[in-house]
Amino acid sequence: MGRTLYDKLWDEHLVDERDDGSALIYIDRHLIHEVTSPQAFDGLRLADRRPRRLNANVAVPDHNVSTDPMERALEGYSGVAEVTSRVQLETLNSNCADFDIPLIDLSDKRQGIVHVMGPEQGATLPGMTIVCGDSHTSTHGAFGALAHGIGTSEVEHVLATQCLLTKKMKNFRISLDGAIRSGVTAKDLALAVIGKIGTAGATGYALEFAGSAVTSLSMEGRMTLCNMAIEAGARAGLIGVDSTTLAYVDGRPMAPSGVEWESAVAYWRTLHSDPDAEFDLELSIDASSIEPQVTWGTSPEMVTSVSGCVPMIADMQTDTSKKALRRALDYMGLEEGMSLTDVQVDMVFIGSCTNARIEDMRAAANVIQGHKKAPSVERALVVPGSGLVKAQAEAEGLDKIFIDAGMEWRAPGCSMCLAMNADKVEPGKRCASTSNRNFEGRQGAGGRTHLVSPAMAAAAAITGRFTDPSQLESL
């Protein structure tokens, strides 16, 4: 019987399996950032342990860093005003120095969000097992790699043993076929999938995305899709390797070259599900019917198309869902049944590990060009995912388009996606955000988040409300 892509990656990395199904799998790449690693390094110190394989690790500061260009011009972390944030960042540097972990420092132009930096540097390669103390590690599955988030105890475990104690997941494939309409992006596909299966719809599964609408996506789009797999409950998202994957990886600094490249490619070309592979669960979605999406509630599954409305409480099936809807509407300050295009936004955030790659910057700039930010929009932040994305965008003049429109062009970091640094949505303010979570308080206590694509966020910046970007010209 054929194997799924996940089966192949699992088999390739299986060190040892017990009768009860618990297994040790070998980890090829461990990505590290400042928030979930300090307690792991401390654990190593307490037990007098050293990292098992230094070259498997790459560290980068991202969650707490300031994205203010003026603050970033200052030496080291001195631009980070808040003491606890600064201490956490400094602790990353000192831990990497103490344990000889490769670190891409804040001053390095390659610094960026860990899930943007990894692929850019070729630290992410097809066929790898990749873990990081961050749930959006699912992003790297876009390369035909088995990638997922882990907790801090597991960060310590991987450092000490180069393995993860785990159990095999089940296989779930979602096929998205059909030509996607203009104005629809990978983000909209991801949100539509989550809307359909729910935030726990893929819990316990490795979630493979397939179909013509997926293979026609760029690597940036594929990363956006796999990034959001965790918002459907799947720890790992996956997409098979094809020529698009190989073209992206070719020439990356940490990618193999010469003879090694040839043998790697020969192996990587086998990294797709076999035609006769069996999945525990399969779902087909007509991608041509998907419209630009916008979330209206406090969970990514609370989503509809931009032409849609907030649901009615009476339409909910159970008491729990009625209650959840009431609470969400109360938090979001919305009325049941209202049109999404009538919802006014106060802020716009374009960035995060979901949507801060060069293609996202281009998509947003393309919408913004020739327009101004609506006066009712108090702030509009554009935060490139890495120093390299920033440099590329500036070389293309995209920064000027944003600045001329009255938007802020920032330095790379996680920024307002989770508001661990100074970039926050103020209480009661409403933000059109290209990030991944609209949980209560996610972007700042009391902040109201609507998840959208970069094109939709850009359109909202111009009109001050949710607008289908493909209809912008006719307004």
Binding site: H13, V15, D16, D20, G21, S22, L24, Y26, P38, Q39, D42, A47, R49, R53, N55, E82, T84, V87, Q88, L103, I104, D108, L125, G127, G133, D134, S135, G149, I150, G151, T152, S153, E154, E156, A160, T161, L165, T166, K167, T199, A200, T203, G233, R235, M254, A255, W261, A264, S299, T320, K323, R327, L418, A419, R437, F439, E440, G441, R442, A445
Partner: protein, 216 residues
């Protein structure tokens, strides 16, 4: 790790589904480099009337009396009763540390998010999955004003309910053993060092590009 065998405790309800780890411990408390100190900020945005102010972190704040954890009848609770998909979202293990430090030893829900469940085992916090009907009945009794206690027996994989009947749950056998004995994962894995080394040598030969030196 603290072993988990049998736990007898009072129940506190949290009647909402999809409780995410941002709600359990908001990100403003993730800046600590320690494993302790998260208990006072468990469910911070629900627990306190005044929002946490990073500029004055030690400012006194009033507890919200309408939030279940703050009610006197639940003040000694060590078992959290919740709805489906508990612990979804971010991988932060701080959520587990906050629950444990507050005094929760066991979360009872119809289902859990994967990463949270995995993290819970590492700190001796037991996630117990029970049928939705059992969970609904417990919520109903609590909503009627009853105070409930449960006996959670990991060895028998059984919860003794307030009426004396019991409900079964299951925990992955390996995880169960680790919890019962309070075993540390790293120690267990390091016992398999020869298997890891053998795998690594084979893997290095087959995929040499995975072992190149990283120059940063």
């Amino acid at each position: 790790m603290q072993a988990f065998t049998i736990h007898d405790g009072w129940v506190v309800p949290l009647d909402r589904s999809n409780v995410d780890t941002d709600l359990i411990i908001p990100k403003q408390f993730l800046k600590s480099i320690k494993r302790t100190g998260f208990g006072p900020n468990l469910f911070d945005e629900l627990r306190y009337i005044e929002a946490f102010d990073e500029a004055s972190p030690d400012a006194a704040r009033r507890l919200d009396p309408t939030f279940s954890l703050n009610k006197s009848e639940f003040s000694n609770a060590s078992i959290l009763l919740a709805r489906e998909n508990f612990g979804c979202g971010s991988s932060r293990e701080h959520a587990v540390w906050a629950l444990v430090e507050y005094g929760i030893r066991c979360v009872v829900a119809p289902s859990f998010a994967d990463i949270f469940k995995n993290n819970a085992y590492k700190s001796g916090l037991l996630p117990v999955e029970l049928d939705e009907a059992v969970i609904n009945a417990l919520f109903d009794q609590l909503n009627e004003g009853q105070v409930l206690s449960l006996t959670v027996n990991l060895e028998a994989e059984q919860v003794v309910l307030p009426d004396g009947s019991s409900a079964t749950f299951s925990v992955d056998p390996f995880r169960r053993q680790c919890l019962l004995e309070g075993l540390d994962d790293i120690g267990i894995t390091l016992q398999r060092e020869s298997a890891i080394s053998a795998f690594e040598a084979k893997h290095r030969q087959a995929r040499p590009w995975l072992f190149s030196e990283i120059k940063v």
